[in-house]
Every structure is written in C-alpha cells, then in structure tokens.
Amino acid sequence: MSSNPPLIEVKGLSKSFALPRPVLWKPAQALQVLRDIHLTIQEGEIVGLVGESGSGKSTLGECIGGLQTAPPGTIKFRGTALEQLQGAGLKEYQRSVQYVFQDPVETLNPRYTVEQIIAEPIRAAGLVKQPKDIREAVEQLLQDVGLDAAYMKSRPAQLSGGQCQRVAIARALSTKPALLICDEAVSALDLSVQATILNLLGELRRKYRISQLFISHDLHVVKYLADRVAVIHQGTIVESGHTEHVFKHPEHAYTQSLISSAL
C-alpha cells in the first residue's frame, strides 16, 4: 500500500501450549495451536479470520492483542516488535488495540454501571483526566454506538444482549483504538440484533478508519464485512486474499469445502 509500516504485521508466528506431563519422569508434551502464521492488518482495513472451533483463531487474536505471549519478533505493531515496545510506545499499543468478545453479558462486570465500564479504560489510558470531561466522553461514546445517555446509570443485567454488546464496543472505542479485535462479536446475538451491530462496526471503519480483525466461524458475516479474509485451519492459515476473490476462486481444498458447505 504505502511506505508506512502496516498496523499489525504477523510473521512466522507459531505457538504451542504445554500439556500437563503424563508422568513426572516423562518429558512434557506440547499442543501446537498456531503454525507459521503470516498476516498483516493495514490501517483502516477489516480483516476477516474464518475458522472452525479449535482452529486457533481466538489464540491468534489474543496474541495480537497481547493477552498471550508470542515468540519475539513475530508480531510487529507499526513496525516495532511487541516485546520491544516500551514506555510511551507500549502505552500507545495498549491503547490502540482493543477487544470485543463473544458473550455480550459476561464481557461486562455485573457490578459496574455502564458509565463505570466505559470510564475505566479512559482513566487507565490517561487520555482525559477531569471527571466532568470523562463523563462527557462517555456520553459521546454512547451516542456513537447508538445508546441513549440515559443508560449511563444502568447495570449490565438491565440491558439486552445487543445493548450489552454496544456498551462493550463503546468501552473498546473509549481509548480511541486503531484496531478492534472482534472475537465472534456477533455470534451470540439474535439475528435481528446482529445486523445493527454489524452496521455499527462497518460505520466505525468508515467514520474513524478503525481497523478490525473480525474473527468468526460464520462465512456470511465475514463475507459481508471484511475487505480481506484469512482462512485458518488446524493452526495454519491455508488461504488469504481479498474477500471477493477468495470466495469466488478458493484455491485451498479446505477453503473450497468450507465455501461449498455454506448454505
């Protein structure tokens, strides 16, 4: 694209989890979940990551977001390897990459009000300091995700699944991120609500150029939302490319079977 380094660049990432030793004197075994992953996410781009359960797609998302450690040098944020980030650079990365998770209810602390939920990351990032300004920021964020400011004092239990997901998105947006990692973010929602959330995500990219790594098992949703798509199977990305191209001319046998089994 341009000479600027990509927002996220994953190069040769492999990851395995140690399994508990079967017997003390035998060597520990490892379960390889990711194998030699290459993936880039440009600024303002929505990348779909499609895979079935157990394919390693969530682990990849967690590695990019820093929730799991990756081998040194395999993940770069704007050209700098994650483990080399320090001070302001580290803060910038932590602020710039945010999550939206699958379960809209469990993702919010039930003891918090909507305002507290959204204000906490603002405070953590130190973007806004005055209580009055934080409050205003929360109001603005709620408006951005299509929720009335009257919800500020509500608790998650009083909200529907779709509303909870909106709050979760507002929380993710509160640090003005450059990348949202959406891990099955619409899978648990009712169909009639799913669409509004998908629209919201699309709008965020259009308005604020927020990149997204959209992780899903649902081909239709990915096809609808993503610019580029990567297909992950048993820890390996078997195929990636522009969404339309991949869906029209799948090359890898797994992608073909995945697409042909879509109804």
Binding site: L67, Q102, E106, E120
Partner: protein, 265 residues
Amino acid sequence: MKTLITGTVMLSVIVIMLLISWIDLPSDPNAMNIANRFAPPSGEHWLGTDQYGRDILSRLLLASQSALTVSLGGVGSGMLIGCILGAVAGYMKGLIGSVIMRAMDVLFAFPNLLLALMLVTVLGTGQVNVLLAIAVFSVPSFARLMYGFVLEAQSYGYIKAARSYNAGHAVILFRHLIPAALPRIGVQMSLALGSGILTETALSFLGLGVQPPHPSWGGMLNEAQSFMYLAPAYPLIPGFVIFLAVAGFNLLGDGIAARHKEAVS
C-alpha cells in the same frame, strides 16, 4: 430466603447470649453450692444448677465468649491466609503455585480433629492454641476457593478486557476480582464458622480447650455426660446451644449461597 431467615434468627440468639455475657451475668458462674447441686430450674437459676451447684445459665452465657471469639478468630485468620495463598497460587501458575496447592492438598487430606489434636499436644491446651488449630485447618478450603476463582476469572470477558486496556493489577484485583469473590468467601466463611464452633466445642469436650473451672460449652457437655444418670436433662442444654450456633452458621451460609445463585441467574 427461609433458610436465610432461620439462620439469622438462630444466630441472633447466640449473639444476644454473647452481649448479655459482656454486660452482666445473672449470677456468679463459678460460685459453688454443693448443697444445691442439680437443682431444677427456678426463679433464681433459670436453667438449674450443675454438679457443684453452679448456675448453668450464667456458665452457658460466659462460655459463649470463648466459643465465638476462638472460632471467629481462627476462621478469620485462616480465611486471610488461605485467600492470599490461593490468589498467589492462581496468579503464579508455575512452580510456586503448584507447591502451594499441593501443600494445601496434604493439609486438606488430614482429619480436622487429628490436626487440632496434634497442634494442641504440641502447643498445650488453651484458647489461643485452639484458635491456631482452627486457623490451620481453615486455610486449605479458602485457598482452594480463591485458587479456583482466580483461574475461572481469567476467562471472564471483563477481566480479559481490563487486561487488554491495561487497567493495572491493582484495579483488576481490587475493583474486579475481589468484589466478585466476596459472596463466595462469605458463604465459605459462614460454613467454616460452623465447623470452627464444632472443633472448639469438641476440643473442650475432650478436655483440650478452655480449662476448668472456666466454663465452655464442650466442657459442660462433658461434665453433663459424667452425671447423666443423675441429671438426665443437663446434657440437653449445652448440646442444644452448640447445635444452635452450628446450625445458624450453616443455614446462613446456605442462605447466602442460594441468594447469590438467584441473583446471578
């Protein structure tokens, strides 16, 4: 809800006993009057007198102090240590974590009373040592509870999210984890208090707790057993008080647990 109310009522009887014992006892609990031994209930002695003619009610009230302070102190300190150990083990999954939890397993696999007996043998009889014994065997249950909770909470979306926006360890610990764990700790605390009372009374029943002539519920029951052919009603009284305290804490724990479950679903 019914459980909660019943438990609270039972416990308030015990708490009232404690309060009265602090303010004023009906008569001197250690004043002997052999001529008036095993007197039936009367205006002067509401629950009658024991083998030395001492007022049973006063002794019962005074004994509530040691029973409650010892078990509360023991379970309280056990809870603090256990929760810290469990939380540390949960965070540091490596060697430290497994060493802590294996040690807890060993402690857990030991019969409560045997553990208490060993400690009392080593340290000698007396309230403080009983308290220590209760603390020691309360530790593993709280450690396990906290360990399990910390592991479970790692997968909560809001903990993951807090980690991803780097809320800081203090915020995650004090604003997210501890408030979420409190109801469970409360339940466990209530149940542990029940077994704490049981241990305190069992040890004093075996003559290893509070030493005579100072009254204790267990000690009174032991004395009552020696004289049960003479005064068959006497064993009923201290036994019932112990039962009331244990049942009260158990029901309170069950009640909180049920209410918490309701609130969650």
